[in-house]
């Protein structure tokens, strides 16, 4: 049981780094070993194996389904967040954007009977994209750190949500059965909305690794000034990253309405910190320029799985939060050590060349 589980997870974590630098065969293995996804993926595997050994219920079909469903929404948000963080920005308004789109979803289904589900998805993503565009415009035009801007829009979007929703909530019963089924039906053990998240992760990973636009994001995050001098359209790319984060938050908001019972004024409050934590734990450097969306997705899966695992092991709630904190600190520490080590290696190789 456990062996079967380990192999797919470990192999799924290896392709991105190797694929990204497929041409360099010689150092491929060492790249894999040094890639940021490996420690996270290993931690995830160890966690699942240990928990299952203690509580076999953890990996029943229902247990696996719950684990994947819990992670789905955070995975989608973490992918958007990774895009923004890679450009040396951050988007703290994702929880509020999710709240607004989730409430929009509830409203659409309640007010327009028979509205096609696809239209609702589209509307949610459009609203998310618009909110993300506002973030991006403020960040790129005002030239104020994204931390400040998105902290502001976090409160603004939440305020709009409060004003719009008031005390009204929409419940699962108000939405069509087919829409709720998206988060309960499975294909070979995978819930439909989780498969959707996987498609998002793969799609964005390909864009980041193989397209000019994707590589530009890394260049901007590594050194914005150099990127500008090099002729990279920095403003446009950063704006694009924020819009993408908004669209994904919109998608997550629609899925939230499919998964949970109530959507209202406080939906998604506080989610932004989980999402930033997922990206950071997944190896996306908070100062930009490195990390992958696959890593961020694994980070999201790890964080949500830890919560479930510790509950299944009957560990006190307080320790659960503390453990998440320790994980974030170790992710940052590992990141720092790796970058110091690389800088030293670079210096040494340059010294040799002289």
């Amino acid at each position: 049981m456990t062996n079967v589980k380990t192999s797919p997870s470990s192999s799924s974590s290896t392709p991105p780094p190797t694929a990204a630098q497929a041409s360099i065969g010689r150092s491929a293995l060492s790249k894999v070993m040094r890639s940021r996804e490996v420690p996270v993926a290993s931690a995830l595997i160890v966690l699942v194996v240990v928990t299952t050994a203690v509580n076999p219920l953890f990996l029943t079909p229902q247990g696996v389904k719950d684990l994947l469903l819990n992670a789905t929404i955070v995975i989608i948000l973490a992918v958007g967040q990774a895009l923004v963080i890679i450009t040396r920005n951050v988007d703290l308004s994702v929880g509020s954007m999710l709240g607004l789109t989730a409430y929009l979803t509830g409203t659409l289904f309640a007010d327009i009977p028979g509205i096609p589900i696809a239209v609702v998805f589209l509307a949610g993503m459009l609203l998310g994209g618009a909110l993300g565009a506002l973030n991006g415009l403020l960040v790129t035009i005002a030239k104020v750190p994204a931390l400040v801007i998105t902290l502001g829009t976090l409160y603004i979007y939440r305020g709009v949500n409060n004003a719009w929703a008031g005390g009204t909530q929409y419940f699962a019963g108000d939405r069509p059965r087919g829409f709720s089924n998206l988060s309960t039906q499975t294909v070979v053990g995978f819930p439909l909305i989780t498969l959707l998240a996987v498609v998002v992760v793969i799609g964005v990973a390909i864009v980041l690794a193989y397209t000019r636009t994707g590589r530009d994001l890394y260049a901007i995050g590594s050194d914005p000034e150099a990127a500008r001098l090099f002729g990279i359209p920095v403003t446009r790319r950063v704006l694009g990253a924020f819009i993408a984060s908004g669209i994904l938050a919109g998608l997550a908001g629609v899925l939230y309405a499919s998964r949970y019972n109530a959507v209202g004024a406080t939906t998604g409050t506080g989610l932004e910190l989980d999402v930033v934590a997922a990206a950071v734990v997944g190896g996306v450097a908070i100062f930009g320029g490195s990390g992958t969306v696959v890593g961020a997705a694994i980070g999201a899966l790890l964080l949500t799985t830890i919560t479930s695992a510790l509950t299944a092991l009957r560990v006190d709630k307080f320790w659960q939060q503390a453990i998440v904190g320790v994980l974030i600190l170790s992710a940052i520490t590992i990141d720092r050590i790796v970058s110091l080590y690389r800088a030293r290696q670079l210096r040494m190789s340059e010294a040799r060349d002289v």
Binding site: L57, Q62, A142, G167, Y260, N261, A262, T266, T269
Partner: protein
Amino acid sequence: MKFLRPTEARGSAHSVRRLVSFAAIAATFALVATGCAAETPGDSGGGGDAADDSLSIAFLPKQLNNPYTDVVLSGGEMGTEEIGGTYEVVGPLEASASSQVSFINTLTQQGADVIVIAANDPDAVGPALQEARDGGAKIVAFDSDTNPDYRDVFISQVVSKDVALIQVEQIAEQIGGSGEIAILSATANATNQNEWISFIEEELASNPEYADIDLVAKVYGDDDDAKSFQEAQGLVSAYPNLKGIISPTTVGIAATARYLSTSEYKGQIALVGLGLPNEMREFVKDGTVQEFALWDPAQLGYVAAYAGQALADGTITGAVGDTFEAGDLGEKEVGEGGIVIVGPPTEFNADNIDDYDF
């Protein structure tokens, strides 16, 4: 663009400064605007003819935009209107211990005659309430009590013990009198939740009929839908023999019902607690939930408004045995500990749930 930013360093310093001053101006405008908005009702009251006689009753719920709170407040508004008082609602958007203090201070400054409060924390609001009382305000606690030192009366939905007992009865009946059960509550320091839970524990321990029922866990979903959902899921995975869940909070029971109804445990694990009929209707109809309980929340606000008036005009002082008229609900008596009981709890099931709309 170039014109706006002559050199990079100075340009950004300029734009930052401009943005800061813009933000400061915007914030000032916002303050003035909200200040005006907040004063308008008071002003119109002052301009009106019955200004001095009009009793101002301010409701401070645990949290705004909470569906349960809205139903309670609708009763409060009705009661206040019948009395001819001025109705006002203020409150935080998040139910946290310290968030209510600043609202109490504001109400004190505005000279509210009666403050009706549902405390997020029984002691955190104490000093602020004391100050309000020193300023002449009467304090009515409702829904969730403050420390009795800081209020005149507490309007309780029902006898706390009855609420606890009805939930134990329901769960015992639904799991067939034996097995493991768990409690999914709101926040770990909510006064009303903890009181019910302690009565539930007491009843399980003392009543021989429940000797075979084992309370294995208490978890807290903080009245957050997603968090309660995951707590429910955690309970089910951590306790494989779990036969029932008691959730004495409307958010918790709805979230738990949603999880159970979408999982293989639907109908396998019994769920009882306190829920709103509108939120629970679907789960009663699909068989996830057989029966749950609640009182009519609107009556709570309604009686609170009348109690506030009785305190303000001196009909009652909050002493045991004091009685006052509560509109349509008739005479209410202040009991032990300054507590006024509104009415018995109602049980909802597939047969009667369609008769209720709140």
